[in-house]
Symmetry: C3
Subunit: 413 residues, 3 copies
């Protein structure tokens, strides 16, 4: 891949343990590079199987300038295609979601079946050969209901290992038997990497997230030990150990796996105790949905978190799932799409109240948006220079930054 | 003219019979080139004489970054000037339309007469010579009331032939004796060439233009013959022949002239039968204005269409005229200005209802806007590659694209 | 400083006595250069001491992409810092104005005292050294209450001479004992230099500023002598001489100092008679505030004007002060911030009516905005070419343009 000398030098000059140079957050050239080297060459989380439960259901998603249609075919398999007609290039599906028999271009009615084959094109003459005019395929895979796509011809092969590991963790929550109760989209005026870095630490939580920290123990995300907190930190460690034992005994994988910067398809998972009632990420730490997921019968299962490089995180509780995808728009704008899922048989108003279900993360998303935006403003200032990460609370930020720099360097080779 | 190696290669690589490379629709560099090589060096349709019926009447129009004032002087002649004061460069006329005695700069009252001569400039001292400080002239010509301007010093000379040919076709409709009943402006989020290409075919009409296809025969714009349509296509050909004979006998030129890609000032014309009542492009195919144009006495005169390269089309019927000008804003935005004209003595409410007059093209413009915008979105997608034109229904698109590529190549020489 | 060959040639080609080449007003590259060579290397007027009367009061201001916090410390001294946290670069102060004990970053609570020293940063580990992590200082100075900042390490030294000269002129108006009665911000769609050039002449006043010219003598800003005006011009000169004598006798410096293009820190001042009642720049030329400034006892003190390069002007009258700062946003947008100040003990409703106080300049600012915007439109037109300045009424425009070109050339050396 073509990477300018200037960017190669910036990558080489990156100082570990420090935030990135401003240009990584502000330069349109580097944004284009991110789209090509990161978002076109890695597995990108884009949605969930409950987005498209029936044959012919589809959704569209933008990865940089590329639009992808993800659909379920008549054999209930997932398929994904570039959302571009092979005639004069019109965008085929112009809605976010829908249901179709075939994919028909609105412009001149060129028609593709759900395998992407061109099956109808009027007026094209006797010599026209529809073979070779099918839709361009995009790789698509599901991890226990979480849908990932990959644009590049030969996707990273280590996806299989992530799927294998994570399927064990996620299976009991039965995501494929859920429905999307609420979906939010917010556009943050910041580079996508600031959104990710903000997600990779909770150093900012105490002062900024009053709703989230009702149920989230701050000790779960790194802490500098000191005489004044040594007892609480130890108490949290003991609690985690006890809960892990209890959950594992109930068949729920809980131990930390951290492969954030040691693999191409970087990820991390851990089931963490929740504070107070210990049931769910809600305003009272109790379940938001009376009908539990899958065959779960216990409410206090903590929160199973799953983080992926480059663009997602997910929290699985006994009663609901919250899942986030980060979609870059341009160098200083990013779309964050949040979905709250509950059991598909749960009844709104009886089993759950959408306002209660979304209260914590809706507030937290807005707070994070403000933090990301003040970071973008400051980093765009000529006075900015990379500063040091905390060795205690920003290790995962460092892993994100290190993974990112390494992946760009690999693409530049 | 300076044209980069990259653009020269793109031009040379263009595959006839296929849509253009994405960069022709998305690159700001090529947009600037279009403005210089196409819009500054060709005759551009900008408005009609009824826009400025009286001495001192003017209108302004933007051609890329250039603003032009078109006016009628005291001898009733058309004049056009660059809309820039020769003092410190303020834009002289800041309204779309108006009426003036002289052109007075609002900033420091430098005053130009309607021939562009500087006739007043205070405080400039004894040595100041107003000669050589007049407004810069722009070429302006009328074809039976349709106003064209050309920015370049030596405009294409073949304009005269287009005028001679078209004057015979247009004269009976007496555009100069019309008034503008309604004018619309819409901004389409697409490159100007997509707006033009969309205009140059009716392959998309059946599925997208229910209002327009009330009166428009789909066979009039190319059709792949097949056993199932051979009779209708032949019937349309017979009808056209009969109607041409009738119209020619009534002194109305009707035969097709197609010089779209064989001349610098490319154009095409043809009078085509209309369906149903056959009178006009309205929702019931009947005239929208009871007072017919000029001295016309028959209502069923079909639709005389006139298409020009690079930026206009016009439909002349017995009762009204619809005229369209396409004005590029930037690589992915285009202004489309539509005017509906009726006889100047027609009375609104008695002779015509503006809602009825505009119903077909107002709806059609919005539908075309959506098609252009989904094309722009798809073409900006990295997955887009040029696709094949229909040899039956997209021949005029190919002529537009071929003319465009040829004109850029000529400018690059 | 790195300046491209193209810009060096444009600078060298500048024709004295003529407006600048279009690119100086439209090119993003030259805008960036302006920010670096002009706004980062000169003393920039940003606000007044009454913006921050108490310890801990601060305001923020944007100079190009740089945000600066100006504050008053506990010793009542002015301090200024780059508004960027040294941790991960978040913008520290996200409001325009406020009051603080320390500067606390909202992201992770890194805390700086009012001298910029980092005094608190949690979780950073035992090896973390807060020294060298303080906020980056910005030079800040006051001229009789007008606050100037300079971003460059070694600011122009001739600021001291301007302060010395101007302090004598300004002192009697006691700006530091005023309060801000009203503040306006308008964004003009024009390059900052057009805003400045418009300010540097009154050639446009008669036709455009009916409110301002109630009190402003047009003869005060240059006039081409002619038989028809020779008597009035002479009468104005005589009046000015008489009034200067009267004001000087009362201890009020009045004589013109013009150092606009003869120094790095260019400035100009003059006390000019006002027309009609001669008291103030109001709709009836009478004072807008019954409580006069400082210890002034006479109302008819004309208007003491103070103009600075590159970005401000100020009018000091017996009853109120109007002060303007011009802050570039991008090549074609500029923020103009206007403050009206009265004696801090003046009571709204009793001593002054804000609508009356602001009537003249609020109207004038809007008129100037329109003039600037029509200039920007015309200059962006390819037909624009630099035009001649009046030798009588545009001498100060020429001094601005000459100073600007000289300063860019100095930076390019």
């Amino acid at each position: 891949m073509q990477v300018s000398k200037k960017v190669r030098e910036l990558l080489a000059a990156r100082r570990p343990g420090h935030s990135l140079d401003a240009q990584f957050y502000t330069s349109p050239e580097i944004f284009d590079l991110d789209m090509e080297a990161i978002f076109a060459r890695h597995w990108i989380y884009v949605g969930v199987e409950p987005d498209i439960p029936e044959p012919g259901d589809y959704f569209t998603v933008k990865l940089g300038r590329a639009s992808v249609v993800v659909l379920r075919n008549d054999d209930m398999e997932l398929r994904a295609f570039h959302n571009v007609c092979r005639h004069r290039g019109a965008q085929l599906c112009n809605a976010h979601k829908g249901s179709v028999g075939n994919l028909v271009c609105p412009y001149h009615q060129w028609t593709y079946d759900l395998s992407g084959k061109l099956i109808y094109a009027e007026h094209m003459g006797e010599d026209f050969d529809p073979a070779g005019r099918g839709l361009k395929r995009v790789h698509v895979e599901s991890v226990a209901g979480l849908i990932f796509v990959c644009l590049v011809e030969n996707p990273p092969e280590d996806f299989a290992q992530m799927r294998e590991a994570m399927s064990r963790y996620l299976a009991p929550h039965r995501l494929t038997e859920c429905k999307i109760a609420v979906q939010d989209e917010i556009v943050e005026a910041g580079n996508w990497k600031l959104v990710m870095e903000n997600n990779r630490e909770c150093y900012h939580c105490v002062a900024n997230h009053p709703e989230l920290t009702v149920s989230l123990y701050e000790y779960g995300f790194g802490y500098q030990p000191s005489p004044s907190n040594i007892e609480q930190v130890q108490a949290f460690r003991d609690l985690t150990e006890r809960e892990h034992a209890r959950w594992q005994a109930a068949g729920l994988e809980s131990a930390e796996i951290d492969e954030l910067d040691s693999r191409v398809t970087g990820f991390r998972t851990q089931r963490l105790p929740l504070d107070k009632a210990g049931e769910s990420q809600t305003m009272d730490a109790r379940v938001a949905c009376q009908k539990l997921l899958g065959h779960l019968s216990q409410r206090n299962l903590g929160g199973l978190s799953f983080w992926t490089q480059p663009n997602s995180w997910h929290h699985f509780m006994s009663d609901h799932i919250v899942t986030f995808t980060v979609l870059p728009i341009d160098a200083d704008h990013t779309l964050v799409r949040t979905k709250w899922l509950v059991h598909k048989d749960a009844v709104e108003g009886r089993d759950y109240d959408p306002a209660n279900l979304t209260a914590v993360w809706r507030a937290t998303n807005q707070q994070d948006r403000e933090l990301v935006e003040m970071s973008q403003r400051g980093i765009a200032d000529p006075a900015y220079e990379p500063g040091p990460y905390s060795p205690y609370t920003e290790e995962l930020v460092e892993k994100f930054a290190g993974w990112y720099v390494g992946r760009l360097q690999a693409a530049a080779e």
